[in-house]
């Protein structure tokens, strides 16, 4: 049987983390293809519904990437994102999806290497953890 390949939905902020992904690419750094990037203008615009929908549709992990505190292009969107992530984590944790599947990480535009590390690390951890419990529910989760 082939190895389990987790599906990770990644919301990357246009100014830092997405640029870091770009940098990783131009620097010829490779990271696992399990990360499916959705480019958003700011981590602060990631509505909890986006994350819920991803998990309910069977994502094994969700990664939100934003600028480091103090570096947000919109001054403080990332800090609002942090509170929202804390809130949503509390909701999801009760039913079996916790910090191990739902990441918020700060990755600056110059940190292509860190992007590679976090993507690789998250993928390998999720491989060990196995598929999301919501996958078993199939259409009932939708």
């Amino acid at each position: 049987m082939s190895e389990f390949e987790p599906q990770i939905v990644a919301f990357f902020c246009n100014w830092c983390t997405f640029t870091a992904a770009d940098l990783a690419g131009t620097s010829r750094l490779s990271y696992p293809h399990n990360i499916k990037i959705i480019r958003v203008m700011c981590s602060g615009m990631v509505d909890p519904k986006f994350v819920l929908k991803a998990f309910l549709n069977g994502a094994d992990g969700v990664l939100i990437g934003g600028c480091w505190p103090g570096d947000c292009h919109y001054i403080n969107g990332n800090m609002k994102a942090r509170r929202r992530v804390a809130l949503l984590t509390e909701v999801l944790k009760q039913y079996g999806i916790g910090e191990e599947r739902f990441y918020l990480r700060w990755i600056a535009a110059s940190e292509g290497n860190m992007l590679k590390e976090i993507a690789t690390d998250m993928t390998s951890k999720l491989k060990q953890l196995g598929p999301s419990p919501l996958r078993n529910m199939g259409q009932m989760a939708l």
Binding site: P48, K49, L52, K53, L56, N57, W68, P69, G70, N76, M79, K80, R82, R83, R84, V85, A86, L87, L88, T89, E90, V91, L92, K93, Q94, Y95, G96, I97, Y103, L104, R105, W106, P133, L134, N136, M137, G138, Q139, M140, A141, L142
Partner: protein, 376 residues
């Protein structure tokens, strides 16, 4: 120092004595209107807005019913205020919800004299009708409930009230106190300066205090807190996976009544009713294609989880969601267990204080480091 005025009453005269108090408030101009539970012409008790002293005869503030959350009524009356000073007699859960609505700028207490009644629980709407048919009155309810007996032949107070640790209202100007008062009496307490003025204007004499009140309140809170903790542990053990959550919500038909009944579901337009969720036929087909079929209406879990991220920080545990469900899903423990977690994460308690900032309304630059676990 809180001031108490004793209100003694003879059998079947409690509401008459209380109506005298509200009548006086309107007559002496302390307030221009009173929002108070009142017996309706035929049956049932509803919050009623009274502007004429001639119409206070049927007040029934201790009736064990809250057909809709009074917080929503308070919001209707004050979000675009009339300018008239109004006294509102509300249950503790309703008052805590009003506090949250004030912070959301959906209610305004500037011209409001808040009167909190001691709450020993409420019956479901339909059960209250049975209660009245069986000859139950607020007096009989108070007497029995204070002795620990709320159950009737085939119904009882709702689950939310059994685990409610707030029988006494805080953040009020006055209280109608039943806990700790002997049979045949209730107390009217002035808590704030505003409340004291009203009490002084009335013809009630303040002085005597209910001796056993603090202790009696403490005892009741302890009983309810214990019941709450047991209920939480039991419910969490039953609902510890998405699959179990799905089972709990299996009867849901996406009618969204729980959100309509919820006093703190604050969006003026629910996203689930917007074009965002008006999908094309092709979209539904694509979802169905994914596993070969799709339950309709869909997005049931999505709706309830979204609601949790919206209202759980403000949930006061009033139980209106359970009451509103046409398919008898007991939603209260679902939202209360969730609220317990989310409020604790931000060291927040819905309705505790009007000065406490709602968690999603702000942020600090150096907080919640554990979310990312990264330090520069």
């Amino acid at each position: 120092m809180p001031k108490f005025a004793k209100l003694s009453f003879k059998k079947d005269q409690l509401n008459k004595e209380l109506s005298g108090f509200f009548k006086g408030m309107l007559e002496n101009g302390a307030v221009k209107a009173v929002l108070v539970p009142m017996a309706q012409a035929k049956k049932g008790v509803r919050l009623t807005l009274v502007t004429s002293a001639a119409h206070t005869a049927r007040v029934d503030p201790f009736a064990p019913i809250a057909a809709v959350s009074g917080a929503k009524i308070a919001s209707s009356l004050t979000s675009r205020p009339s300018g008239r000073k109004v006294a509102m007699v509300l249950r503790p859960c309703e008052i805590r919800a009003v506090i949250e609505l004030v912070k959301l700028k959906q209610a305004n207490l500037d011209n409001v004299l808040l009167i909190g009644m001691d709450c020993l629980g409420r019956y479901e709407n339909t059960d209250f009708a049975k209660f009245q048919e069986l000859g139950g009155t607020s007096e009989s309810f108070l007497e029995n409930a204070l002795a620990g007996k709320t159950s009737m032949p085939d119904f009882d107070i709702i689950g939310a009230c059994k685990i409610c640790e707030f029988p006494m209202a805080d953040n009020v100007d006055m209280r109608l106190c039943a806990i700790g008062a002997e049979n045949g009496s209730v107390f009217i307490e002035a808590v704030t300066g505003k409340g004291e003025e009203v009490l002084e204007k009335s013809d009630l004499k303040s002085g005597e205090t209910p001796a056993g009140r603090d202790e009696a309140v403490k005892k009741l809170v302890a009983v309810r807190t214990g019941a709450r903790d047991r209920k939480f542990a039991e419910y969490r053990a039953e609902t510890n996976s998405f699959e179990a959550l799905g089972d709990k919500l299996a009867a849901c038909v996406n009618c969204y009544n729980c959100r309509i009944a919820c006093p703190v579901c604050y969006c003026s337009e629910c996203v689930f009713l917007t074009d965002t969720f008006r999908h094309t036929g092709e979209q539904f087909m694509m979802w169905a294609d994914k596993s070969g079929m799709l339950k309709m209406p869909n997005d049931t879990l999505f709706y309830h989880l979204t609601r949790m991220t919206h209202m759980s920080l403000f949930c006061v545990g009033c139980g209106q969601c359970t009451s509103a469900c046409p398919n008898s899903i007991d939603l209260m423990p679902l939202f209360r267990t969730c609220a317990d977690k989310t409020q604790a994460r931000f060291n927040y308690q819905a309705g505790r204080s009007v000065d406490e900032e709602q968690p999603m309304a702000g942020f600090e630059s150096d907080e919640l480091v554990e979310v990312t676990g990264q330090v520069k």
